[in-house]
Chain length 226, copies 2
Amino acid sequence: MGERAVVLLSGGLDSATVAAIALAQGRTLTALSFDYGQRHRYELEAAREVASALGILDHRVVQLGLSSIGGSALTADLPVPKDALGQAGIPVTYVPARNTVFLSVGLGLCEVVGAFELYFGANALDYSGYPDCRPAFVQAFEALANVATKAAAEGRGHFRIHAPLMEMSKAQIIQRGTELGLDYGLTHSCYDPPSRTLHCGHCDACQLRRRGFLEAGIADPTHYAS
Amino acid sequence: MGERAVVLLSGGLDSATVAAIALAQGRTLTALSFDYGQRHRYELEAAREVASALGILDHRVVQLGLSSIGGSALTADLPVPKDALGQAGIPVTYVPARNTVFLSVGLGLCEVVGAFELYFGANALDYSGYPDCRPAFVQAFEALANVATKAAAEGRGHFRIHAPLMEMSKAQIIQRGTELGLDYGLTHSCYDPPSRTLHCGHCDACQLRRRGFLEAGIADPTHYAS
């Protein structure tokens, strides 16, 4: 049994790949998903199916009432942009401080299960303009983790935040997951999904996903509405 | 109308004092409380009454399912220690990464309401052994805030994390709040309260509160069960 780690598992393509990479590195994983009032709640079903397919026995889903602070097209009543990839600026699908909140809860879970390794799917290339997906953010969070916690305060270990996809293109991510035997048909990326089995095909997440399979030269198992 | 700020308001003595201090500094406040499965949920009622008494019009309560990760006597089914103040080590009432999670959500709320000032009641002297109540933690979080957010990424401002109680004793905190006209009878500190109007008198929080009023030479409005 490898060293224990926590992985943030959204049910999307990236986090599923991160989980597969951590398992390949010999970690024993606890997966953590969030029910935060997201429009695209099908991803929680996807997270459960991915965890099960990867043999992750410990999967926690934490409720976060982020919709009560609003501010994002993913949680509030704003339209999800379509065919808008590459437009300047940070898109309205940005959820305020989302990765900071998710990593914070992940850090708490690390303390509870005795892990010092925390994995998540931040990606600086295909990051769609989100500030909390960059190396400087990961470094700052790692520094915080090592002064914020009982485990670190008591000298029982040093936290490391792993973002193994940071420098990879979507195509490289898909290639790596495919090598590891990951079934991407289980994953869910769409921000505005017509159903669990259907992707809209036009939100930023769908466009990145579609293009990723194309560039990887790997058959895309996704069903797009159009 | 002063500069907008967010204050973490638990309903306890410390955070109520922080809110009064921020108002005295001329801030326009949004108060943020958490419903995180805490045993001492009476503090949420206290938070509402404190916000109302201070004239804070915008008060958000965010649900956090921290009990699903467990690990603390404040959220899990562990007994709250009594008459244990001063014992070595970090107490079991420590909630894993709680302040990190709370500040992260507070940071998100700052982004939504357009604030760059975030206040909370961390205190290094009476902190009962919690690692996330120290200056190094506050500094690390401020560094994180300034790389984590859309507002900072777009150069619209610089986040500051304010912990005005950091170097104050409980007696000094009570003296300051009393000068500012705060009604401590509305606040709730007890970790294991018999009722909204009664404090147990023996958990760490009650012992610190009781001693604080005594040392401040100010009449204690609290009703203790024993």
